[in-house]
């Protein structure tokens, strides 16, 4: 196989061997799954033939993926890039930020969004994310991310134990309030950590963004686009009260 015209000098990379093997596994799993689908006979009253079978297309795709994976492996082995172990090591190095950013987003989606009022969850997410990357103070970043991940973990453990309260109850509001207090406490503690004027100015920017964005988005989606938010608790209920009071007054 050759390279695309955009970069004729490239010749693959050592990790291609591993992605090739992973692709082989994916193709095998896909084909294995497809073989469980009805290939012939009658399904749900519909007479089947091999060319109508729901397995046909997945089997073709799995076969093509398998062929492509084998070609990738052979190309990688033949190209000699496997000897270039340095590039594999350097590729693995410096992935800390990647894991961190992916972790923040994943923790927000899996831990906070289904369990905490959307505006509160969004506030904590943006506060932790911006404090970690915008302020450029390692201690502040550690504190913000530590508090964020610890809160997410507690919420996941609670969910695992079946302790997630039903939405729009006093218990759910208590959870929302606790998360809000942790977020505010994190900000206060982070601000006390440094006297540097630039860092403090940046922290102010983080707070402004974290406060305004989820509130504006929440109001826009809930009241103007009429789209329910993933979880509506403490703040959304308060917003509803204000919104309907204004509408009633008008």
């Amino acid at each position: 196989m050759t390279t695309s015209p955009s970069s004729a000098a490239t010749r693959g990379r050592p990790s291609d061997l591993w992605t090739g093997l992973a692709l082989l596994l994916i193709a095998a799993a896909m084909a294995g799954g497809a073989l469980q689908f009805p290939l012939r006979g009658t399904y749900a009253g519909v007479k089947n033939a091999w060319y109508v079978s729901p397995a046909l297309f997945p089997l073709i795709v799995a076969t093509c993926l398998c062929l492509l994976a084998v070609t990738l492996i052979v190309t990688t082995v033949r190209s000699g890039v496997l000897a270039d172990r340095g590039s594999l090591a350097s590729a693995l190095a410096g992935q800390g930020d990647v894991v961190l950013i992916a972790g923040i987003i994943a923790a927000f989606v899996v831990g906070l969004v289904p369990r905490v009022d959307f505006v509160v969850a969004g506030f904590f997410f943006l506060l932790a994310f911006t404090l970690a990357f915008h302020v450029h103070e390692p201690r502040v970043a550690k504190l913000a991310l530590g508090a964020f991940f610890a809160t997410t973990l507690v919420l996941l453990v609670m969910a695992g134990l079946g302790l997630t309260p039903v939405v729009r109850t006093a218990a759910a509001s208590l959870v929302d309030l606790a998360v809000l207090l942790v977020a505010v406490g994190t900000f206060v503690a982070a601000r006390a950590m440094t006297t540097d004027a630039t860092a403090r100015h940046r922290m102010g920017q983080c707070l402004a963004v974290a406060l305004a964005t989820p509130l504006l988005l929440g109001i826009t989606f809930k009241f103007f686009l009429l789209v329910p938010l993933p979880r509506e608790g403490l703040v959304v209920v308060a917003l509803e009260t204000v919104y309907y009071a204004i509408r009633g007054a008008l």
Binding site: M1, T2, T3, S4, S6, S7, T10, G12, R13, S15, D16, L23, I26, M30, G33, A34, F37, P38, A44, V46, W50, Y51, V52, S53, P54, L56, F57, P58, I60, V61, A62, L65, L68, A69, L72, T75, V98, I101, A102, I105, A106, F108, V109, V113, G122, F125, L126, F129, T130, F133, H134, V209, T213, L217, F221, L225, L226, V227, L229, P230
Partner: protein, 507 residues
């Protein structure tokens, strides 16, 4: 007579759109939002269209199309701001614009450079629209003769060609990305027998993979991770000065404009290949055809005009296969396809029958979108430039929150959120290993079309695959697919070269 009717319908569509104040406000606002999205390094036109799609869910079709097209046009143009003033292209589409735009800004001609890109982008969009209007009916006429055989092969060709042309490394990686997209498209109940495939008893997966969360994840998450990880500090923004349209320079470069528009339209029409390649190819053509190639890269207006005309003309080109065949021509067009499907429209040849006025309306919207872009560009450019000082560390987390809320809002289920994050992280890993993302999302979109049409074709032929070789268009598509694949096989290329050498010797 037919042309006169079309022109009347076009004028009526423009009048109808402009008679609605809400629509005009949305047009101007979306165009400005697009310019901001394009201008900020780290945000792209594709991402902008994807995120706006989730907001337009409740809009009627006209309003949704106006906002999406206006944002698309604005974002492709907006990328030139940071390219010219920071030497960092806001979008990949404007990478070539930095070559001459930045030297112009450094020489104190930032305002003139922005004026030139504004006008060149405006003309490019209009020429792209013209190409769309002129060619689409012809392609639709041909495509109406297509049957399941051709549609299956067309989907396959779309994936193979986009894989071949977008891969930054080995071409095979582009094909792998495309087939991974097809694999993802297999999830859900199949269309013919309604049998659940790879759903693992998760009911949310019964209807298949939701396209928009996949698109948002595939484009937003790698962008957020990649930009934040690079930690590149922003360079000082060059002074802008007065924004001058400079029609005299535009008139002097008319031949560059026409050639660049043709290049943009041609490249845009190729599935999955987008505005960035159009910009570079057009820049290269202008440089090669110039009597003073040494001036390129030193602040030559012709270079800037060429790349900006081409990347905006590419929009019309990318819409040609989208509207006529249901195959998106560029990554933002992939997002647009997702948006159209969300609004109950299935692009393809049948669209002209189901909605006979769609093409004329689309042309009218493109004209208005380019006019809005030009107005915003000339009047508000200096204000937008101020936004270039906002660091990515502040706005990218906001984009992440928008991506999460947008993915949820479409189906109101958390599965879409998990899907968005999983696809996003996988897309980042693939990007890092030099796999292109465009073929993957094209695979997800075209997968159901390929699956259903393959089986329908085989049902017609009672399982005889030889029927694929009995139809002329089908044969052409098979030949195109085979040649595209064979072109990457060294033995085939050696044989072709030796054959050509033999012919040359005889000649």
């Amino acid at each position: 007579m037919a042309v006169a009717d079309q022109l009347l319908a076009f004028a009526a569509a423009i009048g109808h759109l402009l008679s609605q104040p809400t629509l005009v406000v949305v047009l101007m606002g979306s165009s400005l939002l697009g310019i901001v999205f394009g201008a900020l390094p780290g945000l792209t036109a594709t991402l902008g269209v994807g995120l706006l799609t989730t907001l337009t869910y409740g809009f009627d079709l006209d309003l949704a199309l106006v906002s999406l097209i206006a944002l698309y046009v604005g974002a492709i143009y907006g990328g030139s701001y940071s390219a010219i003033l920071l030497n960092i292209p806001g979008t990949a589409a404007s990478a070539a614009s930095a070559m001459d735009g930045y030297p112009m800004a450094r020489a104190g001609e930032g305002g003139r450079a922005l004026g030139l890109t504004t006008t060149a982008s405006f003309i490019g969009t209009l020429l792209g629209m013209l190409a769309l209007v002129l060619t689409a009916p012809l392609i639709v006429e041909l495509a109406l003769q297509f049957t399941s055989y051709e549609f299956f092969l067309l989907a396959l060709f779309g994936i193979i060609i986009s894989g071949s042309l977008t891969s930054p490394d080995l071409v095979i990686k582009g094909w792998i990305a495309g087939f991974l997209g097809l694999a993802l498209a297999c999830i859900g109940r199949d269309k013919l027998m309604y049998y659940p495939r790879y759903t693992f008893d998760i009911h949310a997966l019964d209807s298949g993979i939701e396209v928009v969360p996949v698109l948002i994840g595939a484009f937003a998450i790698p962008q957020i991770i990649g930009t934040l990880r690079s930690k590149a500090p922003l360079a000082a923004v060059q002074a802008v000065g007065r924004i001058i349209p400079d029609f005299r320079t535009i008139a002097r470069n008319l031949r560059h404009i026409v050639r660049s528009a043709l290049i943009g339209v041609g490249i845009g029409a190729v599935p999955g290949v987008g505005e960035d390649i159009a910009g570079w190819v057009s820049y290269g053509a202008a440089k090669n055809g110039s009597p003073h190639p040494e001036r390129f890269g030193q602040g030559e207006p012709a270079g800037l005009i060429s790349s900006e005309t081409a990347n905006n003309a590419c929009i019309g080109g990318a819409l040609i296969p989208l509207v006529t065949l249901g195959i998106p021509g560029s990554p933002p067009a992939v997002m647009l396809l997702g948006a159209l499907m969300l609004h109950g429209l299935t692009p393809g040849p049948m669209l002209s029958i189901q909605q006979p006025t769609f093409l004329v309306e689309l042309a009218a919207i493109m004209v208005l979108a380019s006019a809005a872009m030009w107005l915003n560009g000339i009047v508000l450019a200096r204000q937008v430039v101020k936004l270039l000082r906002v660091p990515a560390t502040l706005f990218l987390p906001i984009v992440a929150l928008l991506a999460v809320l947008g993915s949820y809002a479409l189906g109101l289920n958390l599965t879409n959120l998990y899907l968005m994050v999983a696809v996003g992280i996988a897309a980042y890993v693939l990007t890092e290993m030099d796999y292109p993302i465009a073929p993957l999302v094209i695979g997800v979109i075209l997968g159901p079309m390929a699956d259903e049409n393959l089986r329908r074709a085989l049902m017609v032929s009672q399982g005889d695959p030889l029927d694929f070789f009995t139809r002329p268009v089908s044969l052409v598509l098979i030949a195109a697919i085979l040649l595209t694949v064979l072109a990457q096989v060294p033995a085939w290329r050696r044989w072709r070269q030796s054959l050509l050498a033999r012919f040359r010797r005889r000649g």
